[in-house]
């Protein structure tokens, strides 16, 4: 099996190393885990499971956080 997998992170295509967990992905991207939500293939992950979830080829990862907002900013 190749050592690289193809995943999408926040819509961007990325090559990642096989076997890496969600926690490692966040760490490599320098994203603090305490204020983010992670959705893996539309499933929202528990923060406690970040270190247990290995990424697989074709995974779609969404990493979200809080930004300034009232009611007027569109999501799209």
């Amino acid at each position: 099996m190749p050592d690289t997998i193809h995943i999408r992170v926040n819509g961007e295509a990325k090559d990642w190393r096989r076997g890496a967990t969600v926690a490692e992905l966040l760490q490599d991207l320098e994203i603090k885990t305490d204020r983010v939500a992670v959705e893996l293939n539309l499933e929202i992950l528990d923060r406690a499971s970040f270190a247990q979830r290995p990424l697989e080829d074709g995974d779609r990862v969404e990493i979200l956080s809080f930004i300034g907002g009232g009611g007027e900013k569109g999501a799209r």
């Binding site: 991207l29 994203i31 204020r35 956080s65 809080f66 300034g68 009232g70 007027e72 900013k73 999501a75």
Partner: protein, 257 residues
Amino acid sequence: MADDRLIIAGREFKSRLWVGTGKYKDFVETRKAIEVSGADVVTVAVRRVNITDRSKENLLDYIDPKKYTILPNTAGCYSVEDAVRYARLARAAGVSDLVKLEVLGDERTLFPDTAGLIEAAKILIKEGFVVLPYTNDDPIVAKKLVDIGCPAVMPLAAPIGSGLGIRNPYNLKIIMETVKVPIIVDAGVGTASDAALAMEYGADAVLMNTAIAGAQDPIAMAEAMKYAVQAGRLAYKAGRIPRKLYATASSPIEGML
């Protein structure tokens, strides 16, 4: 007014002015405006983290979640599915079960899709969320939202960001009379008198963003709003005089020459 606390779903709030955190020049201005406003509830949106430019600072580095109640919204959601998804993401990102639920019906007016709002609220309440719904100034919808378990309702004064002030005071008054949970007038406030008026009508709090962030001097407007909300609340509790068509002299006639 120290004991005049606002209580929603067992949570106590000091300030009756709630503010949004969008549209400011930078995080420093955001923090300063919020500090000056005296608000202890701030709304935030949930969006993708910028993964290419990690130098971007985080809003919550400037707004301490220990000092403020962070109220995530579902702004920008035009369907029940999207609103529910964003609410769940907000909870996963980790502050609390609180959500300001928005299901928008139309991009031009940003008016709520009230049918979708009720549907999304039902789903989220079942999942244990404390749902604060951004709704229209419609007394029937407000009542339905309370009936399904919303611990407060947030009717608009006017379209989001419009600054038009309270468009339908009579509907808001009917909502305040018929709904026995706190009413937070949300959206459409333009200036201090609009906020004062909402409080004088009997609103329990006012939530705004653009009126402060979009003012020429946001910090000064934040202070103006703080006093407007306090003055309006005091006037409401004091009980205003009735309106009369003709004059009533304030000085006695007795003792005149």
